[in-house]
């Protein structure tokens, strides 16, 4: 087993990627994630080529179900619906953008399901997460708006947040599956605390 000791991990470059390269990476990683499933079947929406809207479900009961509606690493078919084996929960909508991807993580924000945006007063559409040092969801981080405080989001790095080498984004390996899986862990007991506002 090899544990490389090469160059120290670096922060992402935080420079937009050439759109064709971003598109190619997003497409490849999306196909590897969906493994035969379709966006339409899952209820995922691609409002523009470099953006994705992913319905997420947060659970108040113990479960191994993912927040994005199907088990990690399993195959499916076009038309398969999301959350077919999952318990009920609180529904959210995650907006991803891939303009800096794959050199940096995707932009990730919770948005109002009705408007597709996040505006003052939309705290209901932001989950409350506590008890983990992996993710926090801030309504307004230092006056810069919503922040999903996790190294698998672009905003974490844009905010200039402190970080550790073990949290580095690895462009040759990391994909947005890492972002979704990190959120999945946080949107279950004991970390998920309900909506930030009712």
């Amino acid at each position: 087993m090899t544990i490389p000791g090469g160059a120290a991990p670096a922060a992402p470059a935080l420079i937009p990627v050439a759109p064709q390269r971003a598109l190619a990476s997003m497409g490849d990683h999306l196909a590897r994630l969906l493994r035969g499933r379709s966006l339409e079947g899952l209820g995922w929406v691609r409002p523009d080529p470099l953006s994705l809207r992913v319905p997420l479900r947060a659970y108040r009961v113990a479960t191994t179900a993912t927040a994005y509606g199907f088990a990690a690493g399993t195959g499916g078919r076009a038309g398969d619906a999301a959350f077919s084996d999952a318990p009920a929960g609180d529904e959210y909508l995650l907006a991803l953008n891939f303009a800096f991807y794959p050199d940096s993580p995707p932009s990730a924000k919770f948005v109002n399901s009705a408007t597709g945006t996040y505006a003052p007063g939309d705290q209901r559409w932001l989950p409350a997460i506590s008890g983990t040092n992996e993710i926090a969801a801030h309504v307004d981080y230092n006056g810069r708006g919503q922040l999903i405080c996790c190294s698998a989001t672009l905003e974490f790095w844009l905010a200039g947040h402190s970080w550790e080498p073990r949290h580095a984004w690895i462009p040759s390996r990391s994909t947005f599956a890492l972002t979704l899986n990190a959120l999945s862990r946080a949107l279950r007991p004991p970390f998920y605390q309900g909506r930030q506002a009712l």
Partner: protein, 95 residues
Amino acid sequence: MTDTLEDRALLEVHFTDLHTNDTATFSVPGEVELVRAWAMAYDELGETRRPADTLESAGGEDMTPFLGETVREVQRRHVRDLRFQIRGGTGGAGR
């Protein structure tokens, strides 16, 4: 001591890399230690183990205490379906 047929049977293991959701499925002799099967998974996935990587069951149970057990022991005592996931380093909220 003579090996029984059960001792010699191959067991199918599944490792999902949560960086990508790519999965490696292969068979190993039951007496192989879990840490060795995990190393084989990196070869199958075309990846390299990073210092921040940890192994957990598909249900999220940390496998670190059981890495020295054989795959058969792990199946009997902890993870019947032998489905594991490789978790990478994400974080930052606690700083």
